[in-house]
Structures are given as C-alpha cells and as structure tokens.
C-alpha cells in the first residue's frame, strides 16, 4: 500500500531538493566556514582564547559528549534515535563507582561497567530492532529506567566517598594533564580515533552502505539481503558500550561519580549530530560533519565562557545555531516557493 516509511522525502522533488542542498559537500563547507568564524571571533574577542590550554580544556569539556555523538550518528543514519545515551553514561559511571566503593580493583570494575553498557544497549536493541517498537519512545523509557537504576545503585552516595581510596591517579590524570608533549586531552584523541573508524565504516564499507539503505528505505534494504534488524540491534549495543566508555572517561576525568552524572545531555548529543548535517529521517549525513559540529560547539562554549557571557545567552546561541543549520539549506527553496505563490496570485 502507499504508506511511506515515516519519511516525507521519497517524494522525488523533495529528494531533488535535499540531494541538492543537503549534499555533503555544501554542508561540510558551510560548517568549516562557521568553525573558522567561531575561531576568529574567539581569538579576536577573548585574550585567553589563543592560550595553548584552551585546546586541552576544550577536549575535557566536550570529549565525552563528542564520543557519544558517534554511535548516535550511526543510529540516526539508520532512521532511529537513542535518547538513553546520557543515562547509560550515568549508569556505567555509577556501576564503576559502586564497585570501586566496594573495594574492587579498577580493571574488573571498568570491564563490568562496559558490560552494563552493552546490556543496556542490547535492551534498546531488542525493543527497537527485534520487537520493532518506535526507538524514540523506547529510548525515552530506557532513559528513565537506566537513570533510575543508577540512582538505586548509588543513591545519595558520591564515590569516592569520605574514607574511600581515590581512583588511580594514573587514570584520573586524563582529567588534568594533556598527553605529554601535546595539548591534546586523552578524550580528544580517543574521539578522533573513534571518529575515523566510524567514518570509514559508514562511508566506505558495505556495512555503511547498508546503513544508508536502511535509513532511506528499510523494506528495500531487507529485500536486498541486508539484515536490517541485526544491524540495528548491534548498533544499539555498540552505542551502549561506547556511551559506557564515555561514562568511565567522565568518571576518571572528574575522579568521582554520582548517579546524576550527565543528566540531560542526550539532547545536546542529538543537537550536535543534527547540526553536523545528519538527516533526522536517516540515510543522509557524514561523520566529518559531526566532527566539525563538535568542534564548533566546543570552541563556541570556550569563547563564550572566557568572555563570561551569561550561560542563558549561550543556550540561545546553541539553539539559534541549530535552527540556522536547518533553515539555511531550506531557506532558498522556501523563498522560491513563496515567489511561485505570488506569481500565481
């Protein structure tokens, strides 16, 4: 029957438009321009922006966010979404904290934390891929569930609690010291490595092509022998693990954790991915775009904080940027349509 998968754009003309405007090239170019703009602004306005430590701090502040944005990119590419990322981050951090609190040594604690992330992702995967439930609804549910579990685990406890041993200094060091001889924070490097992996997988491998197909037209993908469910399932598992990893990094970076860690970050992650030019309907977008988007948001935050701009204003700017990012590509079209309408009158 003529039901469309929830995707307005197999209407050919919409397609033509998106193909034209959302065409990666144009989009990433636009982002590069914006990024340069932000950097110039920062350098001009804030005396401390060009300070070598800025880059390190930037890594500290957005590194874990950026890492969560990568699996989110892949998931959005397949036309789904994962709003539970920040809760998984909090949950894995809490698990790590609890085990540490109970005297475990770091390695097994980290492993278990990652495992919990995988399980959380698997739950999402089963409900979305296997049971076929709408991911936005499911992951709102697991968002609540995972955060709740974290609260059950740690409750009012902040680890390390008074009297606990501190997390190993060698590891918590990632929060205070850049990689020796550089100004790169460890999270930055980890992010960049993961980004390269994601980019190659998404843009150069059969698996990546499959993700595109799934995002554009799941049924056609299935009829081409693409294991739609399986791929989606594993994407959620990967997302779970990666977000758990981000949770561990954040915990070590802050050398402490409480159950609320990262509350509400899911929407920031989504915002970063969308600003990176990934279509919310799936099938379109690039990892490069997301990397640029991360850089823009990070640099902007640094500059504005250094300039002591009210955080409220920062919110406004974030939102405005996101709006512009979608309005600009469609603006031309809209004007065209309006002209048409006037002509007809």
């Amino acid at each position: 029957m003529a039901t469309r998968a929830r995707r307005p754009h197999d209407d050919v003309n919409t397609d033509a438009r998106r193909a034209r405007w959302r065409s990666a090239a144009r989009w990433e170019v636009g982002l590069v321009v914006v990024l340069i703009g932000v950097l110039v602004f920062g350098a001009a306005e804030s005396p401390t922006f060009v300070d070598s430590s800025t880059f390190f701090y930037l890594g500290i502040n957005v590194g874990y966010l950026a890492i969560m944005a990568l699996p989110m990119t892949l998931i959005v590419m397949t036309g789904e979404i994962d709003l539970s990322v920040a809760s998984i981050l909090g949950l894995s951090g809490s698990v790590l904290g609890l085990l540490w609190h109970h005297g475990w040594s770091i390695v097994p604690a980290v492993v278990v934390a990652l495992l919990v992330g995988a399980l959380g992702g698997a739950l999402n995967g089963i409900l979305v891929a296997k049971a076929g439930l709408p991911s936005i609804a499911v992951t709102i549910g697991t968002l609540t569930l995972f955060r709740g579990l974290a609260e059950i685990l740690l409750g009012s406890l902040t680890v390390p609690a008074t009297g606990d041993r501190q997390f190993p200094a060698a590891l918590t060091n990632i929060g205070v010291a850049p990689i020796p001889g550089t100004q790169l924070s460890y999270t930055t490097v980890i992010f960049l490595v993961l980004a390269v992996v994601c980019g190659v997988v998404l843009h150069a491998t059969p698996l990546g092509r499959a993700m595109h197909a799934i995002g554009l037209q799941p049924e056609a993908a299935q009829f081409s022998g693409i294991r739609v469910r399986r791929i989606k399932f594993w994407l959620y598992v990967v997302s779970g693990v990666v977000c758990a990893f981000a949770g561990i990094l954040l915990t070590l970076q802050n050398s402490s954790v409480s159950y609320g860690a990262g509350t509400g970050l899911e929407l920031n992650v989504v915002a970063i991915v969308l600003f990176g030019g990934v279509s919310i309907f799936g099938g379109r977008g690039t990892v490069v775009g997301v990397v640029l988007s991360v850089a823009i948001f990070g640099a902007l935050q640094m500059a504005l904080t250094q300039l002591n701009v009210q955080p409220e204003i920062q919110n406004v700017i974030t939102g405005a940027l996101l709006l512009i990012s979608v309005v600009v590509p469609n603006g031309g079209e809209a004007i065209g349509r309006l002209r048409e309408r006037i002509k007809r009158k």
Binding site: L133, A137, T144, L323, V326
Partner: protein, 339 residues
C-alpha cells in the same frame, strides 16, 4: 469480498481501539488498587484529588502534543514554553499587578506566539519539527533565563484569587483538573468530528497523499503547533497558580515526560492515529505511578527505575495490541475477493 469477511475485523478493530483507552484506564485502576491494598489512605478523597491535579499540567501539554504528533511532527519546546509563560505571568503580577484573568490571557498569548514560531519555521521552511522544536527548547529556556536573571516570583507577589485555581475544588474536583478535563473533552470531541481535525490524521498517515488530496497541510500543521503552544502557555499560568512560585526551572525537562505520556496513551509516534483522551490518560497513569510509589513506601530511590520500566511495558503492550489488530485484518483478507 463478502460482506461478513469484511465486517468482522472492523468490529474487532474498533472495539480494540476503544480498548486502547480502556486498557490504560484499567492499568490506572490496577495501580491504584494495588497501592490501596498496601495503603488504604491512597483512596482518600484528598489523594484522589492529588492524582488529578498532579497529572493536570502534563495532561494539558499532552493534548497539544498529541495534535502535533498525529501530523507526524513533534513539539519538544513545550517544557520551555511552560517555563517562560509561567515566569512572564508571575513577573507581570509582581511588577504590573495585572488582574487575575489577564494573567491567564498573557500565559496563553506567550504560548501561542511560541507555537506560531514553531509552526512557521516547520511549515514555511519545511524543516523537520524535531530539529526546530529542539532548537526552540534551548532558545526559549535561554530567553527565559535572561528575563528571570536569578530572580524568583514568590507567593506574596501573586493574587490569592489566582492561586486559588490551583487548589480550590468544585464538588470535590480540583479546578485545575476541571479546566484540563474541559480542554480534553472539547479537543477529544473536535478531533473526531471536524474535517480540519481529520485532515491532521490524514497528513500524519500519508503526507504525499495528503498533498494530492489538496489538504492545506501547511496551514493544518501550523494550527496544530499553535494549539500545542497555546496549551503550553495556559499550562504555564496554571503551573504558577499551582506552585505560587517560579524561577528559571519551571517545566524543565517536561518535554520527554509529555512525549512519554502521549506514547503511553497509545498515540502512534509516527503520526496518523491516536486520541487526546488516550494521551491524557497516559499522563494520568505516569503521575499515578509516581505518587503510588511514594504512597506505598517504596524507597524513593526506586521511583525513576520503576516509572521507566512501566513506561516500556506500556509501549510494548500498545505494540502487542496493534499487532493483534493487524492480524485480525490479515486473516479477514485471507479469502480472495469473489469473482
């Protein structure tokens, strides 16, 4: 096809549709019953009133959200809108001493304006509403913050007559609940009975076909957003009436709660089907769960986890139901049309 093969599934289908709302209602009753067993006091008039007024705001938001979601869009800005409207109203009470009714009017206007912006950007520029309203979520909260600027509206600033709406009852029903019930009833009826509202379903059900059918999709979707914003604005005023205080955090994070309520209420997240009554019941269910947990003396650490689990259960249940419907139809069509 022969009439009987055609008709049977229909009756089953419609009854199931009805059961959709019924199902949630039953779940609510169950939750209340189970809690009452552990704590008879949960059935006291007072706590029933609390269940209603506690759910009122989210229910109100979910009505507008439903209309938007039915058109295959979403409005993530409702929480921020509520916060902004609440503070603006409070601010006017505090410094301009505006009359009580004006308070509600202002709230509604603020909401309508936000809704109009959402609607315009979404329809005129054809931008996915999730992105638009996500952006607006930040923008509005930021603007709100700039206005609030660390101040707070405290009870003394708000006219008694205004806050009374938050707690006075009529025949034991809180005014707050009555207002929301009226909105739900009106909206619920309208969504069934008018061409424009059926258009909303059509648009969400198959946008391309809607265009071919000459439905003014832009105007309809715009209207849906304006309604959603308006109700969010009204909710803001009621928020102020209920809490008699507000700072920058009013309605923080409501958006996901509302979407959750709508989904639990059986509205298809990708549009085309669902009812505002269901959504309102969804809101009531979520709130009932929260209060039941505290009332049955579960450690408050468990609230979130249990709420999340139940949410997932509700979604799964909904799925199971619609699968039953589909199967009903398929088996009915199993016989080919007589030649």
């Amino acid at each position: 096809m022969t009439t009987d093969t055609a008709v049977r599934p229909v009756h089953r289908f419609e009854s199931l549709l009805r059961a959709r709302e019924l199902g949630i209602a039953i779940v609510i009753v169950l939750v209340v019953a189970i809690t009452a067993v552990r704590n008879a006091n949960f059935l006291a008039a007072q706590s029933v009133q609390q269940l209603l007024s506690g759910a009122a705001l989210v229910a109100l938001l979910s009505v507008g959200e439903t209309m938007v979601i039915i058109t295959r869009n979403v409005d993530l800005s409702v929480g921020s809108t509520l916060g902004l409207s609440a503070y603006v109203v409070g601010d006017l009470f505090k410094y301009q001493h505006i009359p009580v009714l004006a308070g509600f009017a202002v709230g509604i206007v603020v909401g309508a304006v936000v809704g109009a912006v959402n609607g315009l950007v979404t329809t005129v520029l054809r931008v996915p509403s999730l992105v638009v309203t996500l952006a607006m979520l930040y923008v509005i909260r930021g603007v709100d913050g700039v206005i609030v600027n660390g101040h707070t509206i405290d009870p003394s600033a708000i006219p008694r007559a205004f806050t009374e709406v938050g707690y006075r009852t009529l025949f034991g029903v809180p005014w707050l609940a009555i207002i929301v019930l009226v909105v739900v009833a009106v909206a619920g009826y309208a969504m069934r009975s008018f061409r424009a509202s059926r258009d909303l379903y059509a648009i969400g059900s198959n946008p391309e076909a809607a265009a071919l059918a000459g439905i003014p999709a832009g105007r309809r979707v715009f209207t849906a957003f304006v309604i959603s914003g308006t109700l969010a604005g009204l909710a803001g005023a009621l928020f102020l009436a209920l809490h008699a205080q507000v700072d920058n955090s009013g309605g923080l994070g409501y958006e996901l709660t509302v979407v959750a309520a709508v989904v639990v209420g059986g509205v298809a997240i990708f549009g085309g089907s669902g009812t505002v009554v269901g959504a309102a019941l969804g809101a009531l269910l979520l709130n009932t769960i929260n209060q039941a947990l505290v009332a049955s003396k579960v450690s408050s650490f468990w609230n979130m986890a249990v709420a999340g689990g139940l949410l997932l259960a509700a979604i799964a249940f909904d799925r199971w139901l619609s699968l039953r419907v589909a199967r009903g139809l398929k088996s009915a069509r199993g016989v080919h049309r007589d030649v």
